[in-house]
């Protein structure tokens, strides 16, 4: 098969393109780029299933467990630790590489900046050494106005002067997705955090 034919196939099956990128990984940056694209794909799938992922007794765990299943189907090795209170850490590894991306998941039902900030602190001070210098905060948003919730949190982080955050808007998660870069306390290296809104509000009027 030539790459022109593969490109045509990928127009109808996005997974072909995503896996093409995966099998060509030759660096950690390539891996992070693939994780980001694959997470975008997973978030769309999760949002399509929002009706079935509404928070119940184990609502947030259900979202993370579903996300882990989708990622495993894409040949990632995923380990997760579920804890009460809407906290989940999600470790994503390539099955045949030692590269790692760690995510922290937080559930919100409205603006809750301290809760999300706690997630950022857990991610950057508890779960990562900064050696693999990329991670993310998955924000499971069950209320309306995901954009407003994310913008409020971004403004909250802008008050954390000690971190000297550098910001970049996310081009794919339009409802307030963004990136920050700061110096990781443990490693002294730049650490890039991705903030990913997952829109799970489901309140049909009819």
């Amino acid at each position: 098969m030539n790459l022109g034919e593969l490109e045509n196939m990928a127009k109808y099956d996005q997974e072909v393109k995503l896996l093409f990128n995966r099998i060509n990984i030759s660096s950690y940056d390539d891996f992070v780029s693939c994780v980001n694209a694959d997470l975008d794909h997973c978030v769309v799938m999760l949002q399509d299933k929002a009706k079935y992922l509404q928070p119940g007794k184990n609502g947030e765990d259900q979202v993370s467990a579903t996300l882990a299943l989708i990622l495993e189907g894409m040949l990632y090795s995923v380990s997760s630790c579920f804890m009460k209170g809407g906290n989940t850490d999600l470790t994503i590894k390539a099955r045949n590489f030692s590269y790692t991306w760690i995510g922290e998941a937080k559930l919100v039902t409205g603006v809750n900046n301290p809760h999300l900030w706690g997630g950022f602190e857990q991610l950057t001070t508890r779960y990562t050494s900064g050696d693999f210098n990329n991670g993310g905060l998955l924000v499971y948003i069950f209320s309306k106005d995901a954009l407003g919730i994310m913008e409020s949190f971004k403004a909250y982080t802008e008050q954390k002067n000690d971190y000297n955050f550098k910001y970049k808007n996310c081009q794919t998660r339009k409802a307030g997705g963004f990136y920050t870069t700061h110096v990781h306390a443990a490693s002294g290296l730049d650490f890039k955090t991705r903030y990913i809104p997952v829109i799970l509000n489901h309140e049909p009027l009819k």
């Binding site: 098969m1 030539n2 790459l3 022109g4 034919e5 593969l6 490109e7 196939m9 109808y12 099956d13 997974e15 072909v16 896996l19 093409f20 990128n21 995966r22 099998i23 060509n24 990984i25 030759s26 390539d30 299943l69 495993e72 189907g73 040949l75 090795s77 390539a94 099955r95 045949n96």
Partner: protein
């Protein structure tokens, strides 16, 4: 430590891969049945699975066989320059070409326009079989 067929089968069976898992298991059985085969293509796999699955399902399954804990396949690329002349291309060169539209051909030391030549760049899968 060499990887055994059983370890590879166990890895595939540990995941819920649906149709792809079925195709992958058929390919692994084929690889260990025909020890002389060194590479495998999409047409081969379509025959192995009796054309029961679409081409994209076959491609996805081959790609996934490259991503196992012990990948039994490795993707390889080559560009056809002439009827009988092929140059190998590394994954990095292909990746860069997809992202920048500039394909570097080491043998001639030049960049060419990837879009114009993408139909001349072929992908195939090399078998990583343990010595038995």
């Amino acid at each position: 430590m060499s990887t055994t067929k059983e370890q590879i089968l166990a890895d595939v069976n540990s995941m819920n891969l649906g149709v792809h898992g079925e195709i992958m298991l058929s390919v692994i059985e084929y690889i260990y049945k025909f020890n002389d085969v060194r590479q495998i293509g999409i047409g081969d796999v379509k025959e192995i699975v009796s054309n029961k699955f679409s081409e994209s399902e076959v491609v996805l399954s081959l790609q996934k066989l490259c991503l196992l804990k012990n990948p039994i396949l490795s993707v390889k690329y080559q560009i056809q320059i002439d009827e009988d002349l092929y140059y190998p291309l590394s994954k990095k060169v292909v990746n860069d070409a997809v992202n920048t539209n500039k394909l570097f051909i080491e043998e001639i030391g030049q960049f060419i326009n990837f879009n114009e030549f993408k139909n001349k760049v072929f992908m195939y899968f090399q078998i990583n079989r343990d010595k038995q």
